[in-house]
Amino acid sequence: MALRTVNFTINGEAKSVQAESRQLLVHCIRETLGLTGTHVGCETSHCGACTIHLDGEPVKSCTMFAVQAEGKSLTTVEGLAVGGTLNPVQEGFWEEHGLQCGFCTPGMMMTATALLRTVNEPTETEIREAISGNLCRCTGYVNIVKAIQYAQRKMHATPAPEAVLQGGD
């Protein structure tokens, strides 16, 4: 099958790759570029393990073609830490035990990072709704919510509220 040249930036680096028209973006990222932090859990957009940022917006890279990334700016989990320093979301996941097997974690953190970039002080309900496209089988989400709240406090340097959580709906 014919290859096409696709140009984009990923984690700040300009890349030019050869891709079949049918190649999924996640396979281009994982296999062509060797960035294996982005995972595949379902190939049907349900689990969110493949979530990356496309021009700053969270997208599921298992249901996009690589050629659709032409001219775009991509960020994957490998691009979250800057100069070896974890970003507040990564730090929050570590501090609050927001991960166990780690497989859903990259996608979950990409969604959380995008949320906190657009909403200054999300409520617990807003956090739960924002990550509802990302499935986690290990944590029961409680500590993921806490991790995102930790990151929110860190990013906006607000005093820590009482650690009281309301139930999800």
Binding site: M1, E20, R22, Q23, H27, R30, E31, G34, L35, T36, G37, T38, H39, V40, G41, C42, E43, T44, H46, C47, A49, V77, E78, L80, A81, L86, Q90, F93, W94, H97, L99, Q100, C101, G102, F103, C104, T105, M109, E124, I127, R128, E129, I131, S132, G133, N134, L135, R137, C138, T139, G140, Y141, V142, N143, I144, V145, L165, G167, G168, D169
Partner: protein, 791 residues
């Protein structure tokens, strides 16, 4: 109620400290190393052709179109494997299942052929054009019908097999139980179905098989919870074609969730290995989500008729369970050999019963083989769900509060060690304390008052209790083996000259945090900071042999082995310290990290100094070095327990069940890392919620799978999942080296009956006695409609 082990400093980070996880930095930065991340030079891809029919003859397989595609190297069928006698393989239950079929398929999505190609897309192209001609056969879906005399016999491969019956197993004294029922004031009886579900770990299954011809060495990176056992199985299955155990290396790298689904050997692994051996190149196979849900081992699928007997004032006297287990077309469970129904006879639960009889029959049907656990010890969830539902039914039947009935019938704490009527010796417990704590936290009496008020207004609010007893840590070698291999587990610790250590284990973490918790055990026992203890598992070339991680066995077995190995090291360290300080061994006192001369606190040697001496200044006649290995054979199982209380509100218009609150009080004995224990309970509760309200894999009459994708199989998101409230009591295990019991599965076991009991509690006054899980809106809405509530 507090730990019975000394607390080390935070710098050492021994047991009881909520240390941040050592494995997290790589996961947080996308540097985990899962099976699909393994890429080797020249690696090929495998895709699998699967059956659209649940039962059919294979008339022909035509691979010519696939083989004509550039990049397709081979199409492997059952006939190819038959030439090497590799078309069938044993299951862990000593049954057999096909690797690839030669003449017929037994369930929808069964593997029929495998395409090997240079690229994943080309492999998929090839799989799409393999022409298979089938001739449909009668399908057996219902296990009850499977056992009728006129049912088609499914396992025609078994000489002399004339029915679809797999096994009969029973425990307890039937005659004594019958008499107890005859003498009872009150008997309640209920049919309870616990449906087929799937663990659906977010990482599916797969492997990279690499056979190096010049050395005859096979390396398999594989999604397995039990790498050592898998190596032995491979050696036994393929020994006749030249695979010898010393030439087989199984590597279980980072695993994206297991929950029991990564214990079995699936055909895909074996085909990939065969393909690599035949072609001489590495072969990668990664199943997609639909393959994962439709073809991998399922859990549960127990149909039970349960009976419970009591006196009229609420003293429980006897139980009788009769269960039919649907195993699909092969018994591919992963139970210890002696226990075809697992540890189902824990079903007397937390109650002091005088008589019990339980029997289980297994049946073949045209469904995928199984059943494995779903984050639970062997069949314990089925046992706990049934007894806890029955206790609630009894309470309602005799008009007694469900909490009061439980309190009246719990095993008393001074009865431990307690011998159950079905033969188990419970190690320790304080059931009254756990339930009382849960009731206090949730405000039980106030909730009952609120419920009465709401009921008067026509609103449906329910309160459900589950007071479960788990049975984990398999297990003592006199009773526990898998394929003959005893269920010990192991630890090997080496202390380096500078006082740092590496520790290796026969288990394999799938998210439980072993790299942290095992390091904390070593830190506790030796005083070496946990930051300086590197933990490794999952590579059969380097780790000591063990049976792997499932059934909450890692802490009870390998965790215990770590303590025992560390204590051997400490004994040697004492000798070295005595030699170096020129004192008698008995003049030294140990505290984590150093030996001090009694009465002279200034005279001490740290473990780091002793480690250095072990390599530079050890006593003449003593072996150099400071290391030890221990294979721990537990004297008994451990029995974690807890009490959960759930409050639900039911929408009368839609049947939607809303979990308003859920309080979980767990007791897993002494705790290694409270943060991780809490995380395990959160996750377990969520995997208890899931089958209670959402998840089910069912089949239509033609054997079509109705829960085979994430469109139909509803794994709860953060929106459906409530904010779990957790607390604990601590009752150490008296026989475990540091008093721990295991915790990873307690909540999955304990949560479903709390939720189910709450829903029925909300509706009992309408005449509702029981609803099978999952309690979906449509199911609950129909119950409401049938009882005249909604239109």
């Amino acid at each position: 109620m507090t730990q019975t082990i000394p607390m080390t400093s935070a710098a050492i980070g021994g047991m009881g400290h909520s240390m941040k996880r050592k494995e997290d930095p790589r996961f947080l930065q996308g540097k985990g190393n899962y099976v699909e991340d393994v890429n080797l030079p020249g690696m090929l891809w495998m895709d699998i052709v699967r059956s659209p029919y649940a039962h059919a003859k294979i008339v022909s397989i035509d691979a010519s179109k696939a083989l004509a595609i550039p990049g397709v190297l081979a199409v492997i069928t059952g006939k190819d494997l038959e030439a090497y006698n590799l078309h069938w393989m044993p299951t862990l239950m000593s049954d057999t299942q096909m690797v690839l079929p030669v003449d017929k398929v037994m369930y929808q999505a069964q593997e029929v052929a495998a395409v090997i190609a240079t690229d994943r897309y080309i492999a998929a192209d090839g799989a799409a054009v393999v022409d298979v001609e089938y001739e449909e056969l009668p399908v057996v879906v219902d296990p009850f019908k499977a056992l009728l005399p006129d049912a088609p016999v499914l396992r025609t491969d078994k000489p002399g097999k004339t029915d679809n019956h797999i096994f009969h197993w029973e425990a307890g004294d039937a005659a004594v139980t019958d008499k107890a029922f005859a003498d009872a004031d009150v008997v309640v009886k209920q049919d309870i179905y616990i449906p087929r579900i799937h663990v659906a770990s977010i990482e599916t299954c797969g492997c990279v098989a690499s056979f190096e011809k010049t050395e005859g060495k096979l390396t398999v990176w594989m999604t397995t919870q039990a790498p050592h056992a898998i190596r032995t199985v491979f050696a036994l299955v393929a020994g006749h074609v030249g695979l010898s155990e010393e030439k087989i290396r199984i590597i279980s790298p980072d695993i994206g969730g297991g929950f029991g689904g990564k214990v079995p050997v699936y055909p895909g692994y074996v085909i990939a290995v065969a393909a690599s051996v035949l072609i001489g190149k590495p072969v990668k196979w990664i199943e997609d989500r639909m393959e994962n849900l439709q073809a991998d081992s399922f859990a549960r699928d127990y149909h039970t008729t349960a009976e419970l007997a009591a006196t009229k004032d609420g003293k429980l006297t006897a139980l009788r369970f009769k269960t039919l287990a649907d195993h699909g077309y092969a018994d591919a469970a992963a139970n210890p050999s002696k226990f075809p129904a697992g540890l189902y006879h824990i079903c007397t639960g937390s109650y002091d019963l005088q008589a019990a009889h339980v029997e289980v029959d297994g049946a073949y049907t045209n469904k995928p083989p199984g059943g494995v656990a779903y984050r639970c010890s062997f069949r314990v969830t089925e046992a706990v769900h049934t007894i806890e539902r029955m206790v609630d039914i009894m309470a309602h039947q005799i008009g007694m509060d469900p909490a009061a009935l439980r309190m009246k019938n719990f095993i008393e704490k001074d009865q431990f060690p307690y011998k159950s009527v079905l033969g188990w010796e419970y190690d320790s417990g304080d059931y009254h304390a756990a339930l009382q704590k849960a009731m206090d936290i949730i405000g039980y009496d106030d909730l009952r008052r609120e419920q009465l008020e709401k009921r008067a207004r026509g609103e449906f609010m329910g309160i459900g209790i589950s007071s479960f007893t788990e049975i984990v840590g398999a297990g003592p070698s006199k009773d526990f083996d898998i394929l003959g291999i005893k269920m010990f587990d192991s630890a090997e610790i080496r202390v380096h000259p500078t006082g740092k250590a590496i520790a290796r284990f026969g288990t394999k973490s799938q998210g439980q945090g072993h790299e942290t918790t095992y390091a904390q055990i070593v830190a506790q026992e030796l005083g070496i900071p946990m930051a300086h203890v590197q933990v490794e598992e999952g590579d059969t070339d380097t780790a000591p042999y063990g049976l792997g991680t499932y059934a909450s066995r890692s802490t009870p077995t390998s965790g215990a082995a770590a303590a025992m190995a560390a204590r051997k090291i400490r004994d040697k360290a004492r000798k070295i310290a005595a030699y170096v300080m020129e004192v008698a061994e008995e003049d030294l006192e140990w505290e984590p990290g150093k030996f001090t001369v009694k009465g002279n606190p200034e005279a001490f040697k740290t473990i780091q100094e002793i480690a250095f001496a072990a390599y530079t200044n050890h006593p003449q006649g003593m072996e150099a070095g400071l290391e030890a290995t221990h294979y721990y054979d537990p004297p008994n199982l451990t029995f974690p327990f807890g009490s959960y209380i759930c409050v639900v509100d039911i929408d009368a218009g839609t049947g939607q069940v809303h979990v308003r609150r859920f309080v979980a009080v767990d007791d897993c004995g002494n705790i290694i890392n409270p943060m991780i224990v809490d995380g395990q309970i959160h996750g377990g509760l969520s995997m208890g919620l899931a089958p209670s309200l959402y998840e089910e894999i069912s089949y239509d009459e033609a054997g079509n799978c109705l829960g085979g994708s994430f469109i139909d199989y509803l794994v709860p998101t953060a929106v459906e999942t409530p904010n779990w409230e957790t607390d604990k009591t601590i009752t150490p295990s008296p026989h475990h080296p540091f008093g721990a019991k295991g915790v990873g599965e307690s909540a999955t076991v304990g949560a479903p009956p709390a939720i189910a009991n709450a829903v029925v509690d909300a509706l009992w006054h309408l005449g509702v006695r029981h609803i099978d899980i999952p309690m979906t809106p449509s199911k609950v809405w129909k119950v409401l409609r049938d009882h005249g509530v909604t239109g």
